[in-house]
């Protein structure tokens, strides 16, 4: 059974850190303000608004230390990754999880944070939150349904998301623990000790800014490493800002994915509101879900 960290109570502290790409304090501020409005105490980590001159929000040591402190500090009840980008792969093997295992807490984020999601799930069987990060909050967006789904998830409310069907869907019902996240990261983690386990589970995939041929290559990698053959079900979030070669690849991202799992019979739902877009519902990875892909509607229930 997956361990579910305690849901948050008013006054609980959320630690905010940047384990990957750089983020300024100003860009994170609307998110910080919103968490405070929700009644939480926010600890802004050293890596937010770091003075680094390069891509990262601080050196490997600085990012590690910030994350480690929040994992170890009993006062911090949830670790919110303010941004993804790239960087967790560089520090994941140096993160100590002893205190976290004794005192599990919510780890929140997506994209590059997929490294933490799968690492924590396959090694410690603790649930994590795949959810919008700080860049989703500015410009009056902090009360949209997707941000509010994060609030509800932190409060321990169960969810049932519905979304429209898609022409590539495969109808059916499935029950299983939800896992997955960013396709590029899932492919990158194959063979490592943070590699996802998918058998009997519902797999979520999303990605942004990849060449179509590379999406195809990554789907073949997952297939050849036997991650697709025994799924309970699959939900596909958004694949946005896809790039193509001068001569077109000839298939859309959804067609590529459809083709990769054509030989299997598990339920398959496209267009789930998750990914590098505004429509990005909070999902509790590692927990059991019921997936229904119907004739007119698709739903995912915790």
């Amino acid at each position: 059974m997956t361990t579910i960290p305690s849901y948050l109570q008013p006054g609980d502290r959320i630690g905010m850190t940047c384990p990957g790409g750089h983020m300024s304090l100003a860009s994170a501020q609307p998110c910080i303000d919103t968490f405070r409005q929700w009644g939480y105490d926010v600890q802004v980590g050293q890596t937010i608004g770091d003075q680094s001159s390069n891509y990262f929000s601080g050196s490997d040591d600085e990012r590690l230390q910030d994350l480690q402190q929040m994992l170890d500090d009993d006062q911090v009840r949830a670790v919110f990754c303010a941004r993804g980008g790239y960087g967790l792969s560089r520090i994941i093997d140096r993160v100590q999880f002893e205190s976290f295992r004794k005192n599990p807490k919510w780890i929140i984020g997506f994209s590059d944070v997929t490294v933490l999601h799968t690492h924590v799930y396959v090694n410690f069987r603790v649930a994590t939150l795949h959810a919008p990060m700080a860049s989703a909050f500015p410009n009056g967006e902090s009360a949209n349904p997707y941000i509010l789904s994060l609030k509800a998830a932190l409060e321990g409310k169960k969810y049932r998301y519905q979304w429209p069907v898609n022409q590539f869907d495969r109808r059916g019902e499935a029950v299983g623990e939800l896992t997955g996240g960013n396709l590029s990261l899932l492919a990158h983690l194959v063979g490592s000790r943070s590699d996802c386990k998918t058998r009997g589970r519902i797999l979520l995939l999303e990605d942004v800014g990849e060449y179509l041929y590379n999406i195809d290559r990554m789907m073949h990698q997952l297939k050849r490493s036997r991650k697709l053959e025994r799924l309970a079900g699959m939900i596909i979030g958004s694949f946005t800002e896809n790039k193509d070669t001068t001569r077109p690849f000839g298939l859309s991202a959804y067609e590529i994915i459809y083709e990769a799992v054509r030989d299997y019979d598990f339920p398959l739902g496209f267009g789930f509101p998750s990914g590098h877009v505004r429509e990005n519902y909070a999902l509790k990875l590692g927990l059991g879900h019921k997936l229904r892909i119907g004739r007119n509607k698709a739903s995912l229930e915790e």
Binding site: N54, S89, H188, V190, G191, S192, M218, H220, Q221, F249
Partner: protein, 332 residues
Amino acid sequence: MSGLPEIRVLARAQENPTRIPPNLADGDLMGICCPAGDMSLEEMQPAIKEIGSWGFRVKLGDTIGKKDFTFGGTDEERRSDFQQMLNDPELKAILCARGGYGSIRILDGLQWEAFVQSPKWVIGFSDITYLHGHINRNLRIATLHSKMCNSFPADWSQVTPSQADSIRAIRTSLRGELFSIPVSVNEKNIAGLAEGELVGGNLKTMEALSGSRSAFDTRNKLLFVEDSGEYLYSLDRCLWNLKRAGQLDQINGLVVGGFRIRPDDPGDEFGMSLEEIVLEKVRGLGIPVCFDFPVGHQPENYPLKCGVSYQLRVQPDQVRLAESAGVGSRPG
């Protein structure tokens, strides 16, 4: 001035050596096909002409001139053409016309019985790394990592002498003759002497092979990597994949080829050089490392035999990678 760095010898016994396909002689037949990207018959002419002048005969596969979007024919057409060449006892080598993308889509549909019975050289690089990895790991037969048809110039006066050398060295390699590869010295090199079976190829492709049954077993081997068009962060991520998948821990030496790096987006400067990215992954291993080796997506891309034992000697003033004598077995 400090003295010369210590030259460490890292040679370990090689288990399960590869078989080396027979060398080619005058009149031998070489097949050319497109397992990945497409190439027209017209674009193929310079290669056909040059290979003919080497004394080899050429047999063109059905996929030459075929087009299915970016592919040299549909998956089934490419698979069937490659299969036919694997099975054809007349062919002594299969030259992949070009890379691009697509080998992975046909790999699991190929039957290898005839090839294992009667090994022949499979030649190419970049996307063809899928074939190198699969054949090396599963079949233990040597392959040739080299330029492909799309690098043969129509006008040889337009290419540099070293570029021409690196193409014509394919002939030398296939005839089983030795040649030396000129390597410039990078000050970030780590000196040392190592020996082992040479494996490697395109870094991004090696990441994509990771965890699959076609990934190279890199233990006790000399590893070479090259890539083109990737961001620094992506190369860093690829190397973390190899490291975390245990593919760097037990290598005997590392040869870093050409990397045409995609520039960082403004404001997203990665902040580390390629050399720094590589060295932080292997620094503690005590193995020789060389940079700027002439292999990759660049004019100078010398043939290297995957699966054949090489010696890597990295010295402060000189780098040498050459086939070791008397290692490996030959069929029949």
